[in-house]
Amino acid sequence: MSFPWAHEYTPSHPFMKWMDEKLPLPRLVYNSVGSGYPVPRNLNYFWNFGFLALACLGIQIVTGVILAMHYAANAGVAFDSVEHIMRDVNWGWMLRYAHANGASAFFVVIYIHIFRGFFYGSYKAPREMVWLLGVVIFLLMMATAFMGYVLPWGQMSFWGAKVITGLFSAIPLVGEPLQQWLLGGFAPDNASLNRFFSLHYLLPFVIVGVVVLHIWALHIPGSSNPTGVEVKSESDTVPFYPYYIAKDGWAMGLFAFLYCAMLFFFPNALGHPDNYVPANPMSTPAHIVPEWYFWPFYAILRAFTSDFFFIPAKLMGVLAMFSAILVWFFLPWLDRSPVRSGSYRPAFKKFFIILLIDVLILGYCGGAPAAEPYVMISQIAAIYYFAHFLIILPIVSSIERPDPLPFSITEAVLGSDEQAALAPAE
């Protein structure tokens, strides 16, 4: 599981020795986030976002459990109970803003974490399973956030629920019954709100479970690093504790500063005023948009305005939207370049930047009204998005000539590595 030079756990206190024999939990901690876990010495700040994601999950669970003590999942009173939290419950306003902005912070962090993976080839062997589990976590997060947004039962909550469950009605034959089954009625109502609350409470704990698997799978080969060159010797690594615990703590401080700035000075900047209007099944707000973190995918959904061969536009949009994430599952096999890190891949690097811009454009269009020129721009950007994964990546990885890689992490950091002299010339 770990490198041969990993420090061994040697409890000295009699109680810890006793504990180690009965339930070696301290040993597990020592070997996974303590001195017993050697980590590449050259990780840059992009490697802090996994820890920050964990912190966000913690924030959401703590604030969420507290909100659930004051919230009532009944269509008649849900909106009022959220206002009660905002006005009457001690510190309720802060806890609710912490939860709502915590969801946004979580997605900022997770998008950086994912794009770190795209650039540094973190999805490649031997870390495919880490990547696949990560995509599962992302899907669960999207489901959780969607259902959470329904809970305040404002106009955006209601119409978001209607439109998103409407996606399922695009499926031929079973679509309409499926939508009714999901909602427990013909339109979102009490039955829908109740089950969404139940699942919104459940899913974060399912995420915790998948996160454990994600980290377990990661700790088998250990972390990758910005050079993408695998660890060769002890001089390539430092122990997780104290080095990366300290660095993650510093990153946490910076994160907390930005998060608090958001929470205390712009708590509604990312929200939508329409969600302070109680749900009204009789009238759709003029401009319905999902939360910002769904925008790129929403733009892809709306990009299909006319039928595509035999597939109706509506179904096509839905398929494209889901495929935009599902394609990530195939990434380890679409990018065949043996070089992991984008830093040593001159052509890939350019396409990576274009993809980043493309996703930002999609995001912008997803938040804009469904009118020209945004529809046309989304169409072009959506085509490019899929072309990047399905055409550009496989071609680039087969024709590109990568830059020379350093011999080892140590050489990349210090300029030389005495091991290199001993190794046979390549």
Partner: protein, 188 residues
């Protein structure tokens, strides 16, 4: 140990080659499998619309006050219904459209009751993803084709509430309804 050796002895397994134990094993696992799968029935169907939701009351609406060119929104199964009194011009517009050019081909006559072609009664639920289209309320925009316009993703319906443009696949649904008198319709 000794006993097991006897039951599992190869002599006893000969004959037709099936051991008693294999049969019991298969039967037990199959029964448990069927029982396990049948548990899914209540677990899944509890989520379907419950009896009170399905006991959809029908709605009676007085339409005497709706002037030609006007429409009202009513409620059926907790969803909006549009009741619209078409003007002769709107009827003519709907009838002038070649049926073959439509995404979901239907004539105005097929979508209304005989002798009451001016009463266009449809669900106010966009067939794309379910928003309430604009055009029934006073002063709302009616879109390019003079019927309804869905602001969510830009679907435009004509004066027979047929889909003409945008992502929606179907015409606005016509619910079952009947005229109980000249001025009252019963929806559902």
């Amino acid at each position: 140990m000794a006993e097991e050796a006897i039951t599992d002895a190869p002599e006893l397994a000969t004959g037709d080659g099936v051991r008693r134990r294999d049969f019991i094993n298969l039967a037990a696992v199959s029964a448990a499998g069927v029982a396990g799968v049948s548990l899914l029935v209540p677990l899944i169907s509890q989520m379907a619309p419950s009896a009170d939701v399905l006991a959809e009351s029908s709605t009676e609406v007085d339409i005497s006050a709706i002037q030609p060119g006007q429409a009202i929104k009513s409620i059926f199964r907790k969803q909006p219904v549009f009741i619209r009194n078409l003007t002769p011009k709107e009827i003519a517009e709907a009838n002038a459209v070649p049926i073959s050019s439509l995404r979901d081909p239907q004539t105005l006559a097929e979508r209304t009751k005989e002798g009451k072609e001016n009463w266009l009664i449809t669900m106010g639920v966009c067939t794309h993803l379910g928003c309430v289209p604009l055009g029934a309320g006073e002063g709302e925009i009616k879109g390019e084709f003079g019927g309804y316009f869905c602001p969510c993703h830009g679907s435009a319906y004509d004066t027979a509430a047929r889909i003409r443009k945008g992502p929606a696949p179907k015409n606005l649904e016509v619910p079952t309804y009947e005229f109980t008198s000249d001025t009252v319709v019963k929806i559902g």
